[in-house]
Amino acid sequence: MAMKKLVNKPENLVQELLEGFALANPGKVALEGSNLVVRTTPKLKDKVALVTLGGAGHEPAMSGFVGEGMLDISVPGEIFAAPGPPRVVEALRAANRDAGVLLIVLNHAGDVMSANLAMGMAKKEGLNVKQVLTHEDISGGPRSNPDERRGLVGCLPVIKVAGAAAEQGRSLDECLAIAERMEANMATLALAVSGATHPSTGDVIATIADGEMVVGMGQHGEAGGGTQSLKSADETTDIMLAALLEDLQVKAGDELFVVLNGVGSTTLMELYLVLRRAGQILESKGIKMARTLVGEFLTVQEMGGFQMCIGRLDDELKALWDAPCNSPALTVK
């Protein structure tokens, strides 16, 4: 699989993509400082700010979630690599306010180290910062072993509800509690059907044989979970949803969101087939598919496959889910 990408010099890739991203969303985001992605119309200072960090190459994530009702600042790293602590501290300082700052971190070694170091420095400086870690990938291990669970597209629901809470003027502790409640009530599983190439190195970052698929593939082509024969949309949905419902211990009467996140070359068409089947299964079990979100939010270059993320909603979380937002990757009226 030779790389077929429209890129220029690898060493300029992130800089150039950020410039294009800002140009594509002039009314929404801008670059500030050392390439921090910020809103063009900042949130009032008496409201909690939300900050995140994460490697580039997953567009629209994470910087595409910056906007009204979502994030205040995103710190993009290099391709697939977390930004270092200095820029994360810079972001925490830029977001600093009496109301406090919530840092949302996806559980990947580099992100966690950077975040922890930055949090330590920020606290030393007296900043009012708290942190929430997302780790909802059930392929990493049992729920009792959260360290082993990666953070996948579940960051989006967490950002959505915490962002809405912040916009409503809730306190830092309340925003944190809401983010943690959402985090504790969700589960994600990733499927890969075809590989991808690393846009800087050109290396193949995952190879999946003809007629095969991998359940539990990580966000950077890291293998994991089971390689099995490629299945129909319905069969694949059955397998993945069963695992998620089991992990989250979903019961009849529960209300769920279902997020289907295409990771690259898998079409919306296919995701609609999967959602249709998920709806049938949930209905047959007396579980309500209360909210849905289908699209490409956190991609892995041109990889084929998707992440299925489900989460248990209560009335407050539903209201926060429905609250308006306006970011490059998600707009709710």
Binding site: A82, A109, E222
Partner: protein, 214 residues
Amino acid sequence: MLDAIGCTEMSAMLRGAAAQIRDNHELLGKLDSVGGDGDHGITMVRAMSHLEKAVDAASGKDLKSLLHDVGWGILGVDGGATGPLLGMFFMGMSEAAEDIETLDALGLTDAFEAGLAGVRAQTKAQPGDKTMVDALVPAVMAAGCAAEDGGDLLSVLRDAANAAAAGAAATKDMQARFGRARNIKELSIGTPDAGATSVSLIFAGFLKGVEANG
């Protein structure tokens, strides 16, 4: 004869490490592409250019500042797991150099140990988990033994480099339990760890750097 490491000598060591990494970055990328995402080579090259920039800018500063600037520079490399780990190694060394103008053999091993502590504060990875810790721990231990046995600075660096190389080589037969390669489980066996290999190159570079300088 090398009997004290001041700013000049430390700068030579650091540049030696950078040269080693640059000469071998393609190997590093290849090793990382087996179970990881293949970017370790380019990340290390970027880290080393941040290192060199810090060294260039540090002329006249003390050891502590030199090492601090190098660590901070590497932390700023936006290099996933590598940046914080390697950055905190030099940040740790910097702390050990507080109020110290030059390092003797024992001083150097103290600095290495503080660097190791800086790394270990970032990760729960233990020796045997197939990470850079597998090269770092034996290197620092070997340096300590050499110094306690009364060895001079060159023998400390030589033993450390040898132990790092052996430690990195030994990761070949290990199964990764940290980093991205963890996800491929037993398939990680058979390839040395990229980060451990980087550490062994860095220690080889430390030695070459002072040898070339001396």
